[in-house]
Symmetry: C2
Subunit: 322 residues, 2 copies
């Protein structure tokens, strides 16, 4: 009997991960934790709600001794930047306390309990100026609180793993695109919006220049990254347990031309260009391209081009939206 826990199981990627695990016939219990879940979709996993910054909550999650833990919960980048206290308390200190709670279980078990812990980090751990492609030896010099909190968490997880308390890996997800659902206020939201909204017959605003280049992977690829991380022999990481993942580097212009190829001019004409200086300034600081040699060598795979990313949205999410 084994147990799997998804912390942040109410979010978009968490729900897709849970569906993927259930579809493949999960070996053992699946528990989802989040601060809140969207209206019930009829699934039957165990669901727990709570506040991760409450030590009783992190202690209780650890006390169940799940063998496999996906840690996806976070205050998003924009909110961590405007609410400094909430960002550090949730993204760094709650993760620290959770690691401490797992270490206590490890000790109490006489060293037999040592869960696999897959932590979703972010390309926000990097800050410019960048090389043309960010390689695996490039420094983490984040320019946001969110990036600093993720980078600290990576360091903690690596050290707790080196000591044998947990068996962890931090995976730095590309910007996930195309996100299904309603537009959100994330600065990166338009990367999904300019594809999703037109495909649903709605107008979308493009707030940046079409020359902007960024780094993407689909939600399906994200689920693949997470599941691959659960079964990988982490000794192969040789102590460097934070990994930049594969993705698709493309410009907004290339995104739009891929949409034209897939869906035609009438759909593309629903994109309205209306420059937002604030968003343009934030996006200008973001990574544009990577050379994720280690992750490729370890078997991680993303899409080959942006057209595939659009096609995955159409296949996986567009039917539900309509």
């Amino acid at each position: 009997m084994t147990g799997t826990l998804i912390i942040g199981g109410g979010g978009m990627v968490g729900r897709k991960l849970a569906e993927s695990l259930a579809a493949d016939g999960l070996d053992g219990d699946l528990t989802l934790f989040d601060v809140v879940f969207p209206p019930d979709s009829g699934r039957t996993e165990n669901r727990i709600t709570g506040d991760l910054t409450n030590p009783e909550v992190t202690n209780a999650l650890a006390a169940a001794r799940p063998d496999l833990i996906y840690y996806l919960a976070a205050i998003v980048s924009g909110e961590a930047e405007t609410d400094f206290d909430k960002g550090w308390q949730t993204n760094m200190l709650a993760f620290w306390r959770f690691l401490e709670a797992l270490r206590a279980e490890h000790m109490a078990s006489g060293g037999t309990y040592r869960p696999r812990l897959v932590f979703t980090s972010s390309i926000a751990v990097f800050g410019g100026p960048y090389p043309d492609k960010i390689h695996d030896l490039f420094l983490s010099a984040p320019q946001t609180s969110y990036g600093a909190q993720k980078a600290c968490s990576e360091l903690m997880l690596t050290d707790f793993s080196r000591k044998g308390f947990v068996d962890g890996i931090s995976i730095r997800l590309p910007t996930i695109c195309v996100r299904p659902g309603k537009p959100n206020k994330a600065a990166s939201g338009f990367f999904s919006g300019i594809i999703r909204e037109p495909l649903n017959g709605k107008e979308a605003i493009l707030p940046v220049s079409t020359s902007v280049r960024h780094w993407h992977a689909s939600p399906r690829a994200a689920v693949g990254f997470l599941r691959h991380s659960a079964s990988l022999d982490l000794d192969r990481l040789e102590g460097r347990r934070a990994l930049s993942l594969p993705g698709v580097s493309c410009t907004v212009e290339e995104q739009i031309e891929a949409l034209r190829d897939v869906a035609g001019n009438d759909v593309v004409n629903l994109i309205r260009h209306e420059t937002d200086e604030a968003i343009s300034k934030i996006v200008a600081m973001w990574p544009r391209d990577f050379d994720p040699a280690r992750a490729l060598d370890l078997g991680y795979r993303a899409e080959g081009n942006f057209r595939e990313i659009i096609e995955i949205y159409i296949k996986d999410d567009l039917p539900r939206a309509s």
Copy 2:
């Protein structure tokens, strides 16, 4: 009226820094904080003892609103490795709480209080495999708890500084050599011991191969690094507020030959080679050489060769020892 606070003022570098500041006629009060001070040397600075892991202590230190803070306190590498809890509590969480206390003072002052904070980090933030020279864009992938704690602290200080709560810089000191005083149990202790003990007519054990290469600077250089960091315009760091400092890269053989040049064969003959596999294994993981281009550009200076490092020991510390 300005105030300077040295946290870790009872240590070797802290005491030399205090002497240097006093010798130059410090503008304002000088306060030293440490868990314990060595027997009184007759100096007249304010001295405070306490436990940094006690939040009341960090709050009280911040409440005095010093304009300039040197943060040198740490559980050393070896102890942080054997006492996991103490290392993380002191080196990471106490520093976090101190930053939070300074942020509270910044807020309470209406934003006018924003101290210069000089944090001593370490080359232990790096982990192998290394390039021939560690350049300024190389990743931090520490292989010790001490290194992970220092790397987390760098990230926090950078983010608190980016937000304007403090004006901080993290300086990664080379291994300080020649340390005066008695031999200690640090794995790096022999680098000082094989120079200091023979110059004082005593036998010294060399526990590693003479081909071992490492990265050094004198205590005098360390004081120079700290004082330079206090007056530097940190906007020049362009958001990358953790800096690898200059030093001397040399092999143990080169150290010994420099000692022979300075003090002769009879002194060198007091070094006895007795390999210690445990120490050799630890030392094999350490950085060997750096290309600290940014720090040099910002005006940081170390010695030009190991002979100078020996001569500084003879001038600054040997008279007291004899």
